[in-house]
């Protein structure tokens, strides 16, 4: 980027999935806020998990001569070309929350460790279930990498216990409404279900609502993300647990590394940085705010 230095503050493009999910909204706003503090002009846009739209957003950022791009990408493979394009246009890319299946293109890939988080919540789930009983799994969009990683994380723990039996597994495409209706129907096939483990909090909340309306409040529901709604639900005794991805922190880190890179020419850190997730339960729920410790 040659132009921007001459006119106005340098811009930093923050590209994330749709802000109608509080998680991405939080990370985008955290990044933007930090960027402003560091004297940049942030632009926020959303690719709705559509790699093609993401590609177009990167194009625009390039045309816009952004100084750096903070990206929560739309697919580990589908995003590689876009990131490479930005790099060859001389714009450093800092990935947050989701990694891509290529190294040496992005300057940093700062992700909350989905696998670690998944096994964390799975262990809590095992504890709550008392190591035995029937459970249902709700997975995210099956064509989404994180959905796969989380499922793997769940099962690497759950499958060790013979007492635990998965009686149903469906995708609810990350959606609350779909989760609600899917669970309503699935519990018809197996009324004696004891727990539901969901790939994210919105699905977990949908499941909890369905179970409540079916008079099965005591079914154990755990999720993933640590969204404010989920935490509220945990405090209110709806959901039992979730893992919080420190989205806001990750976003801020990315911006800081971008600043360092732009000023010093290097972040001085490895490209891949995995940040551990934190387990949220009724016990510690009150310590957490919007995707971060209070």
């Amino acid at each position: 980027g040659t132009g921007p230095s001459t006119r106005g503050p340098k811009t930093i493009a923050v590209i994330t999935p749709s802000h109608d999910n509080p998680f991405f909204k939080a990370e985008a706003e955290a990044a933007a806020a930090r960027a402003r503090e560091l004297g940049y002009e942030p632009t926020m846009s959303s690719h709705d998990d559509d790699a093609h739209k993401q590609d177009q957003l990167i194009d625009v950022a390039i045309a816009n001569k952004a100084a750096a791009i903070i990206l929560d990408n739309a697919g580990a493979d589908a995003s590689v070309a876009a990131v490479r394009k930005a790099k060859s246009a001389g714009i450093p890319v800092f990935l947050i929350d989701r990694e891509i299946n290529a190294t040496g293109i992005a300057v940093s890939q700062i992700v909350s460790d989905n696998y670690q988080g998944a096994s964390l919540v799975a262990q809590e789930f095992v504890r709550l279930m008392g190591e035995k009983g029937n459970y249902i799994e709700l997975t995210g969009r099956e064509s989404d990498t994180n959905a796969a990683i989380r499922t793997r994380g769940f099962h690497d723990v759950l499958d060790k216990f013979d007492g635990l039996k998965q009686v149903g597994r469906q995708s609810a495409n990350w959606s609350q409404t779909e989760a609600y209706q899917t669970i309503e129907t699935m519990i018809q096939a197996n009324r004696n279900v004891k727990g539901v483990i969901a790939g994210n909090d919105t699905m977990a909340l949908g499941a909890a609502a369905a179970l409540k309306n079916a008079g099965l409040e005591k079914v154990i529901v755990v999720g993933f993300d640590g969204s404010p709604d989920a935490i509220a639900s945990i405090q209110a005794g709806g959901m039992k647990a979730t893992v919080l991805q420190p989205a806001s922190r990750i976003a801020r880190m990315a911006v800081e590394q971008a600043h360092k890179y732009l000023t010093k020419g290097s972040t001085g850190l490895p490209e891949k940085q995995a940040i551990d997730c934190e387990l949220v339960t009724a016990a510690n729920a009150d310590q957490f705010g919007i995707f971060g410790k209070k």
Partner: protein
Amino acid sequence: MTPAETTRRTAVASAPKLQLFLAAQLFRLRALIALFVLSGVFAALSPSFLTSANLTILVEHVAINAILGVGMTFVILSGGIDLSVGSIAGLAGIVAGGLIHQGLILRTFGVVVYPHTWLVIAVALLAGAVVGAFNGVLIAYAGIAPFIVTLGSLYVARGTALLLSNGATFPDLGGKPDLGNTGFLWLGSGSVLGIPVPIWMMIMIAAAGMFVAGRTPFGRRMYSVGGNERAAELSGVRVPRIKLAVYVISGICAAAVGLIIAAQLASAHPATGESFELNAIAAVVLGGTSLMGGRGSVGGTLIGAFVIGVLADGLILLGVSEFWQVVIKGLVIIAAVILDQMQHHYARRAAAMIRT
């Protein structure tokens, strides 16, 4: 006119009372065949399919499409289309959610008012009616293509919902007794005489829809507008009013759906209802209503909605993989209509036989 419609058209034709009645029954039966086949298959493959509990849930899910479908049938019968129903549902949910969760903030007085639940529901329905009226006015009086207008308001309504909630979800809509705004959840999880409220709403809205479409001057005029707008106008039908009305009705139905979903989830999400329009229209067309307008029935739409609902839930019950679900859904939608037409074809043959 497509052969499909030619058949439909001559379907209604049949001479003396008896055959007429017969034909009418066959006409009603149309998509039913597909429905029976589907239900049969699922009943055979999954023991829990025919349990009363599951059937209740099933009908509860159907209610969503059915209620949207009733409004959509009105719009399509009058020769239009409404793509904005999904967004309206989302908007209505957010309006209700907002009013219950954070109340009405009156900056000037620096006070927050929490309206009573009934008022909340009324306002949400009103929101739906307003978007519907917005559609109707542009279509009926400015003469803009329905597809464009409702595509536009699809975005406008969705965006408004997102702005209102700032993208966030309004949680725990149970309300607080001290604020006197409890009871909203009853819409989603309550039940009367052992039948869930959403099902009651479907029954009432469908019944009203059938009556209005089939027995009232308004209904007749609506059909005529869809059948031949110019002739209708020359016959003294106030075409613009009719059009305005159908979009308002569709808007209200969509808002009702939004309320049900919000009440079921006990929370309102601005993205609720995305791509509902496709399912609603599919229900209408599966039910034998012509997208050219003027031909069809609310009853048919109900059956169409059931076909879609049974399919979706049945596949989940069987635990079919997501990908196969997508393929099968597509095939069944097409198969249903083919079946419908074949059966219909023979019905007419038969009818003709009787006469000669």
